[in-house]
């Protein structure tokens, strides 16, 4: 028995990738994070997905790459290539607006607008994701993953994680 599938479209691929979670922050997908740059279907039906790494040393990169490949293969694509590009470099400004809200509800303060090129010794202002107060203290400038920092809110007394603005 053969399974007939509707022809693969880039739209269908984008939709499938929108369900691939970030392995370290499962409330957002790889497309929410702005990691997927491009989807191309070649004449022979081979699919090429171009993605950009968030942090260069992120240990989840190969998991992300494999999940992207798997999601496209699950749609019936016989040949999938997952390419990575560094240009332009990923920035937290690319995280979608609704995904920022989901991050906040999950307890992670979304990133402030990224500044480019400035070497400064001060950290960005951050708002408590729980009570929205700016009365917060950074307790660790590196968190459990490369993309996050640790804070405590002095208003509601809750500890929380904040996304670095990159």
């Amino acid at each position: 028995m053969t399974v007939t599938r509707s022809p693969l479209t880039t739209q269908a691929i984008w939709a499938a990738l929108a369900t691939v979670p970030d392995p370290e922050i499962p409330v957002v997908s790889v497309t929410d994070m702005g990691m997927v740059r491009d989807v191309q279907i070649g004449e022979t039906g081979a699919v090429t997905v171009t993605f950009t790494p968030t942090f260069s040393g992120c240990p989840a990169l190969h998991v992300i790459r494999d999940s992207i490949g798997q999601a496209v293969r699950d749609l019936g694509a016989a040949e999938v290539e997952v390419k990575s590009t560094l240009t332009p470099p990923w920035s937290t400004d690319w995280i979608r607006e609704d995904a920022r809200e989901r991050l906040r509800e999950y307890g992670i303060a979304p990133p402030a607008p990224a500044e480019d090129g400035l070497i400064q010794l001060q950290a960005d202002a951050t708002r408590c994701p729980r009570c929205a107060s700016f009365d917060v203290r950074m307790t660790g400038s590196f968190g459990p993953t490369l993309c996050k920092r640790l804070y405590v809110c002095d208003a509601c007394k809750e500890p929380f994680e904040g996304f670095k603005s990159v």
């Binding site: 260069s56 040393g57 560094l86 990224a114 660790g140 400038s141 590196f142 490369l146 990159v166």
Partner: protein, 259 residues
């Protein structure tokens, strides 16, 4: 405009391979030293922070070695895990044992300031693949510098004991730091072609950032500068045992597919 790899001459390509390897080697060795604190840092947050920084530095080493792979096809893992001390080109600055917390933070700070400023300049490289890598890594490096600058300040302005240790660390590290700013063979030609940053200009910016911070802000005394540094082929006796430790698993299982 940026130049594609094909426009490099053979000499330029060889010099660029040497430089990329030296950059990667410094990152790998420093990351290994940082990783030695895992489970041993004074507080949990700093254990996590140093592991993060080490992970970023390894990420940068990976980027440099991927650039090298594009030029000569060598495998980054094989380069990192099978070369002996004789073949490594790390600076003695990063090889020294991790020391105490003040030594670790001060070394990482001096290195982070150098790396951030070097990357800042390399973002304008005429060699597009390097410009891309530098733009990526620069964004991450700023966080290291913020973190370690604050620690150096905290230690220098802390107790008499923490000040003494920080000053001792500076006395020990200062003579070695110049090696980071020493050009490799053939590097001048690459700098003239706009492919690599001008190390003299990077050093001038580094002095402008680091010296007032250490002296005015932190109240530390600058020791005299070190004598002329030997080349990167001259290692400390600390490199070989570090590589023994770092490469043990890879060498024991050279064909492993999954880690």
């Amino acid at each position: 405009m940026t130049a594609p790899a094909t426009t490099l001459t053979e000499t330029q390509q060889a010099a660029l391979i040497r430089k990329l390897t030296a950059l990667a080697d410094d990152e790998i060795i420093l990351a290994q030293r940082g990783g030695e604190w895992t489970g041993h840092a004074p507080i949990l947050e700093e254990d996590i922070a140093l592991a993060n920084i080490a992970q970023d530095e390894l990420g940068h080493a990976g980027l440099y070695l991927e650039l090298r792979r594009a030029l000569d096809g060598t495998d980054p893992d094989a380069l990192a895990f099978t070369r002996s001390a004789d073949e490594y080109t790390s600076a003695r600055f990063v090889e020294r044992p991790k020391g105490d917390w003040a030594f670790t933070m001060l070394r990482q700070y001096l290195y982070d300031a150098y790396e951030a400023l070097w990357l800042d300049a390399a973002r304008h490289s005429s060699y597009a693949p390097l410009a891309e890598v530098a733009s990526k890594a620069f964004r991450e490096e700023r966080f290291h510098l913020q973190h370690t600058a604050l620690w150096v300040e905290r230690l220098a302005l802390g107790t008499p004991e923490s000040l003494r240790r920080t000053q001792d660390a500076l006395n020990a590290l200062w003579p070695d730091v110049g090696q980071l700013f020493q050009a490799e063979e053939g590097e001048a030609e690459l700098t003239a072609a706009g492919i690599l940053p001008d190390l003299g200009a990077v050093k001038a910016r580094w002095d402008g950032l680091v010296v007032p911070h250490l002296t005015v802000q932190c109240g530390l005394g600058l020791p005299p500068a070190g004598a002329e540094q030997p080349g990167r082929g001259h290692h400390t006796e600390h490199l070989a045992p570090l590589l023994d430790e770092m490469q043990r698993v890879y060498r024991a299982h050279p064909d492993a597919q999954l880690w």
